[in-house]
């Protein structure tokens, strides 16, 4: 039986999710070491959802959405927040039950709450990806996204991956009964040095809000976007055979890093308000083109299911 005692802090909820999914056989990975807009961008999801190799991973991913910055004042909007991400390929037949078990593990009593799977199809124009699934409601509150990936980077997903994404702050606020994210206990409130979410992030939210909206150098960002785009292409243009080792080494991951970079720079430019409606589509198309090239490259690799 899952642990149903009430958690006391944000980090306890994260730790319980980690323990739960580890118990269900997932590799517990660490966050990707780059700025991303969502947990989906982690190569452990984007790239590993491609190809035929089985996969099961769970991880926390710090995520950045520059346009959502509110100087730490809004009760539930942040430009930097955490997502919890689970990706299992092929999607197991009992994925819904596994997911519900994870809610019990963080202290949601299924006999008292109303859990609902409400249609919400997922699409990422920048990743050239889409899937069908639901947003999961707990008593009318959206607590997770549940998606069966159908296509990523323009490639059909065979087999299909099941992806779960938990918005950790929102979910934790609900479980802990907190109204303002900054008031949420980060560690155990009974501890000698209790820290709230605000103690850790209020100042950074202010700093980054100012930076994202007003200070980030757009001229530099525009240049870096071009650089990342060019670098991604140039990495993939290299011959498959490494001249030094004589081995076949396709650099799908380093190229994909540049795609992630371009995507984040685009988000910053968007927050700076220098991208017009028409240009927006063009930028999204450019990032998608990179994502497709990286996906094309990845499926040529061993991890991507190509014969070694």
């Amino acid at each position: 039986m899952a642990e149903t005692s009430q958690p006391k802090s944000f980090q306890e909820i994260i730790l319980r999710l980690q323990t739960y999914w580890a118990g269900k056989g997932c590799a517990i990975l660490q966050p990707y070491d780059m700025e991303v807009g969502a947990g989906t961008f982690h190569p452990a999801t984007t790239l590993r959802s491609l190809g035929s190799q089985p996969w099961a991973a769970a991880y926390v991913q710090p995520s950045r959405r520059p346009t959502d910055g509110r100087y730490g004042e809004n009760p539930n909007r942040l430009q930097h927040y955490y997502q919890y991400q689970v990706l299992i390929k092929p999607s197991p037949p009992d994925l819904q039950a596994l997911y519900l078990g994870s809610l019990e593990a963080i202290g949601i009593d299924m006999s008292l709450h109303d859990i609902r799977f409400v249609e919400d199809d997922w699409e990422s124009p920048t990743l050239g990806a889409w899937g069908l699934g639901w947003e999961v409601w707990c008593d009318g509150m959206e607590v997770s996204q549940f998606t069966y990936f159908q296509q990523v980077g323009g490639h059909d997903c065979r087999p299909v991956s099941g992806e779960l994404t938990y918005g950790l702050e929102r979910l934790a606020m609900y479980v802990l009964g907190i109204d303002h994210v900054m008031d949420m206990p980060f560690n155990d409130p009974q501890t000698p040095i209790p820290l709230s979410y605000g103690d850790i992030f209020r100042q950074t939210e202010m700093e980054y809000s100012r930076h994202n909206f007003d200070a980030a150098s757009t001229e530099m960002l525009l240049r870096h976007f071009e650089d990342a785009e060019a670098e991604c292409k140039s990495i993939l243009d290299q011959p498959e055979e490494d001249p030094k080792t004589g081995r076949r080494i396709i650099m799908a991951h380093p190229a994909y890093d540049q795609c992630i970079k371009a995507s984040h720079i685009f988000n910053l430019l968007d927050a700076r308000g220098v991208i017009s409606v028409t240009e927006r589509q063009a930028y999204i198309g450019r990032v998608r083109a990179l994502a497709k090239m990286c996906a094309d490259a990845f499926v040529q690799t061993e991890a991507g299911g190509a014969a070694a």
Binding site: L112, H113, D114, R116, E119, G140, M141, Y148, V160, Y174
Partner: protein, 741 residues
Amino acid sequence: MADLLIELFSEEIPARMQARAGEDLKKLVTDGLVEAGLTYSAAAAFTTPRRLTLAIEGLPAMSPDTREERKGPRTDAPEKALEGFLRSTGLTKDQLEARPDKKGDVWFAVIAHKGRPAAGIVAEVLEGAVRTFPWPKSMRWGAGSLRWVRPLHSVLCILTDEHGASVVPLEIDGLKAGDTTQGHRFMAPGDIRVSSFEDYAARLKAAYVVLDPAERAETIRHDAGQKAFALGFELVDDKGLLAEVSGLVEWPVVLMGDIADEFIELPPEVLQTSMKEHQKFFSVKNPGTGRIEKFVTVANRETADDGATILAGNQKVLAARLADAKFFWENDLRNVERHGLDPWLGKLAHVTFHARLGSQARRIARIAGLAGEIAPMVEADRKEAKQAARAAKADLASEMVYEFPELQGIMGRYYARRAGFSDAVADAVRDHYAPLGPSDAVPSAPVSVAVALADKLDTLTGFWHIDEKPTGSKDPFALRRAALGVIRLVLENGLRLQLDRLIDAQILRHQIEPLEDEEEQALLKTLLGNIASHGVFGSAVRAIIDEAKENAPDWLGRIENHKPDLSDDLLAFIHDRLKVYLRDRGLRHDVIDACLHLPGKDDLALVVTRAEALQAVLDTDDGANLIQGFKRANNILIQAEEADGVEYSYGPDAKFAEDETETALFAALDAAEAKIGPAMIAENFEAAMAAMASLRGPIDAFFDNVQVNTDNQVIRRNRLNLLARIRDICLRVADLTRIEG
């Protein structure tokens, strides 16, 4: 006889797809069974979020034996032909019958098809249905390749007869059909074995699943109504929401909660929209205050605390949502009170309406210009019409409409009132989008009509100007809807407008870039005003152009050389929509066509009155026969004109009349012409049509007794000219050549 029960059990099916899916399953399976020779007495489909169920009664145990006869080659045909026939029938030569035919003996194959057991047919039909199911969107899952709307977990398929139930042997991509299902996900998990439809429905109910969506909807409606009624409140009806919510639950439990006092002052539309869109809550109104003070949410389960936890959670989520809405509302109101609508209009200068049609601000200016010109034609105050047109789109820059786009116009009315505008102006702000659908109410207040017309005409002329017309099924800018809006505004308000002029004025407004110079602006305004009221080729417009010709600005040439091609094309588009609209009201399209080829075709109300009168007269005996007479006259005339290479348009002379029916026709034409002319001017179409129909007798008598193409060329020419007169007189009433039949 046997009954069939099918259940396709899956992960949660989107609510909006369920009803259609139930019908599709029923159609696919029953069509397939009937095609294979299995009749049935009744079929019913049911859906829940997790299942599609089909119950079919009265299937025979076997499909009937059938006999098929096929005719083959002649008995003396080459061996090759016979071989082919044997291959295609699967028979041997000694099984064929030789039968006499017209040209000798012919081989016949008589193939007997044995009836097949129902189970085999059901298995094939169901597998076919599952594999070809027309989901709007479907997916794969796991490592399989089967497609369904969400992962399909089990297939229940049993045939029940007097000996009991048996599972239909069937396997689809590893899913083996069985006789078990599952109860409510949380309240009664676990397998349930069933033996018939009645048993299935009863066991599901015991396992907290109401199978029939209509029953779930009724439970929700009834329980919610009762809860509201008990407090003296009333539930705000919402059929769409009811259907959706019924598709989100298997065991509906209605819970009613409070809207915190601090939110009750929000406009009811805001409360309702926020609750419905985000939370799928019903609104509950206090008839005493007229406000929405409570909400109803529908949970999918019973709980030990009677839903207290669930309600508290929902209430909290709602409070967060409404706190946002309240923040937007108060910000918007504060802005309007301090600065009026101008700052929003300023913002709209930076919002693109369409890349090639400029900003929202430019669009607003164009609409205001046209609305001012339309105002006197619809008895609206010109100043109010222009004010309303300027205010109409201001709310697009408000925070509330940014958050809830469906509240556009509704919020605009609140803000316009707060900004101090009259009720007529504020109402026009709300109503100028109408009518949106074919059954929407059409605005009738003059200011609203002026702005609603100007808005739609601006959209139509704009997209015509940049050549983005609808093609086939593609109409991304909803231009057909805009044209129908214009038609309904005109007809339902009985407006007499010369649309051509308004269209010309607005096309020019699109074509001429905004002017910097104030004098030029004033000149353009005068010119467009004159074009809207007197037409682009009117003498007033020409006079102004001539006067301004010295140091004339470049754009003046645009007006001077304006060609009506674009406006004609747009008007033709509006006429096409008019035909569709009137066809639904019983007016024939050829009758409308006949009335569109007369002057005044841009006056839609006039066109419709004419068409109605024409159709009425065509429905009479005289009218129907007159058409035949007219066509006969016209055909003879066309042939003669082609053969002789001349046009017979000289007036015929009565003195060459030989037969008395010919003389009578002269007299009848004179009499009819004398009536038709004035009647048309007076728009008394019934009288004009009656005068035209009165020609039926004299024309019929003339054709019965007179040979038009006689040898005497003088008399022949005179008679042809007489036919031309028939044609001319009739064409003054309507273009009868376009009448079919």
